[in-house]
């Protein structure tokens, strides 16, 4: 764990959001909405909690990060570049031919990606496998996983939840990015999730409800996950705002998978810059 203040982390999250907007603008393709809603959790993990070595991405003892909602990979790419897994200018190649930064993350092409995702639901089960592998190999690393609330409609999520409970994967921390928006509309319209926390509790998980865009609450929840080595896997249900940080993207289903134009880009970057403390 690194010694970094909440305010520093908040600024890091803002910087990461700017990199997300910048790379999606340059690619003119990508998913800004979910990348921005998950930004605070992913930033906290990479810049405070995760024990990783950018020079040795395959280090067997490292903490893992799996974006089960793989389409929000721009936020992960921003973190990886900032930590030095690859040069910053690589961010400009997002979604371009020959780039390690595929539209959905590829472990084969990009250093620091622990498993390829993109087909919803599967990442969480893979992450459970990594947490199980940690237990079997008697390693004490953590596996972080970012799950979409729309994604929780996939049946495999609950199969993986069973597995994590049976094998007492208390090294497994799942952040549910509950922004209540999915591609076709609100989750409530498309397929109501009900209380996702209650569902995880019923599967034997420890559950923490937070504002997932409040850095203090994010860190507090992760601290609680670290403290509770009780055999239970951990779910952090983070209420978030899709598009968080850019006024015209916030809570807009239309910003799921669209790139900003010149004007929107300038406005988004200006708004984010103003949020730096």
């Amino acid at each position: 764990m690194k010694d970094i203040s909440i305010n520093e982390l908040k600024n890091k999250a803002t910087e990461m959001r700017m990199k997300v907007i910048d790379m999606i603008y340059k690619a003119q393709s990508g998913h800004p909405g979910g990348s921005l809603s998950a930004a605070d959790f992913v930033t906290a993990c990479y810049f405070k909690y995760m024990n990783v070595d950018p020079k040795n991405p395959q280090w067997a003892d490292r903490d893992r990060m799996v974006l089960s909602k793989g389409h929000v990979c721009p936020i992960q790419y921003a973190c990886l570049a900032t930590l030095g897994y690859f040069p910053e200018e690589v961010l400009d190649t997002l979604r371009k031919e020959g780039s390690p930064l595929q539209g959905h993350p590829s472990m084969i092409k990009c250093p620091g990606i622990d498993i390829s995702t993109g087909s919803l639901g599967q990442g969480m089960a893979c992450a459970a496998g990594m947490a199980l592998g940690g237990k079997m190999n008697k390693k004490d690393y953590k596996v972080f996983c970012v799950l979409g609330d729309g994604e929780a409609q996939e049946g495999i999520i609950w199969e993986a939840a069973n597995t994590a409970n049976k094998y007492k994967l208390d090294n497994f921390i799942v952040f549910v990015d509950e922004n209540n928006l999915q591609l076709d509309g609100t989750c409530d319209e498309v397929m109501p999730n009900g209380d996702l926390g209650e569902k995880f509790k019923a599967f034997g998980w420890d559950v923490f409800y937070i504002n997932g865009n409040d850095m203090e609450e994010v860190c507090d929840a992760i601290d609680k996950c670290y403290a509770a080595q009780n055999g239970n896997p951990k779910a952090i249900i983070g209420k978030t705002v899709k598009g968080k940080g850019v006024s015209f993207m916030e809570n807009q289903v239309g910003w799921h998978g669209v790139a900003p134009n010149d004007e929107q880009y300038a406005q988004a970057m200006a708004e984010l810059k103003a949020q730096l403390i």
């Binding site: 993109g118 495999i156 199969e159 597995t163």
Partner: protein
């Protein structure tokens, strides 16, 4: 072929996986509840620390195996062929093949061998489906001893692999001393008038057909194509160049299996003739295994007849 008793090839898997697991502690069996039926109960008993059972959750099982493989494990995902190829097809594609992880899908109940279970359990499309996935190796051993050899080879060679075993007992074709290489056809006998290329449970039929053909004055080369991907292209080309007439035999849909793979090579060569013996693009039913094969023209007599047509 000997007078030895018949043994299901799933038994060869069940026995060898224990030996392989003892030799390499990274080998993991990941069951999806049907371990008893797929013969992993000895592994479960003898190597409990290398044993996982995720319950009746195939899709999760495949993805958990991928996660384990990223941690250096060599998971064998164990289920029936129908589920191990189709229920989890996309997990295999996305998390095992695209990632090129060292996961083995080891499936019992291949082809018509789960005969009286009916069509739901008879995997007739599996090898063809998995053959289309990049990075995947697809194999079906002919008998107990070959099953053991291929299971060990799967554990010792890197990459995604699919192994298909039989529920029903199969005649023994090979002694325990015979060695096999993944991706290399095994020539059981040479001949000059026709080549019979078979795999899995139909290899013993091919051998019997060759004997009858011999009595009729037709000399047959018999190849066991235990690996349909990567296909032993050189062996197929040699059949075309040396003989020019090929009969393929498989307990699999006639579309996209061994016969199709062989035809792809032959068609590109622009010469040679092929007759395909296999399941006639129709579902099975609850019936004796031999009856199901017979209804699809997969018998010794059918193989003989197809070979004669080519003469």
């Amino acid at each position: 072929m000997s007078e030895l008793k018949k043994i299901p090839t799933r038994n060869g898997f069940g026995e060898e996986i224990v030996a392989v697991g003892k030799d390499n502690p990274d080998v993991v069996v990941l069951d999806i509840d049907i371990g008893k039926s797929c013969k992993t109960q000895d592994f479960r008993k003898e190597l409990p620390d290398q044993y996982i059972n995720v319950g009746i959750a195939e899709q999760n099982g495949a993805a958990v195996a991928a996660g384990l493989a990223t941690c250096g494990k060599i998971p064998f995902v164990v289920t029936y062929a129908a589920f191990g190829s189709m229920r989890i097809c996309e997990m295999i594609r996305q998390e095992i093949c695209y990632t090129n992880l060292n996961v083995k899908i080891a499936c019992s109940h291949g082809g018509f061998t789960p005969a009286n279970d009916g069509a739901s359990h008879q995997a007739i499309e599996d090898m063809g489906i998995l053959r289309t996935l990049p990075n995947m190796t697809v194999m079906m051993p002919a008998d107990y001893n070959q099953a053991k050899k291929l299971v060990r080879a799967a554990a010792e060679n890197y990459g995604p692999m699919y192994l298909r075993f039989t529920r029903d007992a199969m005649e023994q074709v090979y002694g325990p001393e015979v060695e096999f290489e993944i991706g290399k056809a095994y020539q059981l006998q040479d001949g000059k008038d026709v080549a019979i290329i078979a795999n899995g449970d139909t290899v013993c039929l091919a051998i019997k057909a060759a004997k009858i053909l011999e009595e009729k004055g037709i000399s047959a080369r018999v190849l066991d194509m235990h690996t349909i991907k990567p296909l032993d292209v050189d062996a197929v080309k040699a059949c075309v160049n040396d003989i020019g007439k090929i009969v393929t035999v498989e307990d699999h849909n006639i579309i996209n299996g061994l016969g199709s793979a062989v035809c792809e090579v032959v068609a590109e060569m622009g010469k040679g003739k092929v007759k395909r013996v296999g399941i006639q693009d129709q579902f099975g039913e609850s019936a004796p295994y031999e009856r199901l094969l017979a209804k699809n023209g997969i018998t010794v007599e059918d193989i003989v007849a197809e070979a004669e047509k080519l003469q």
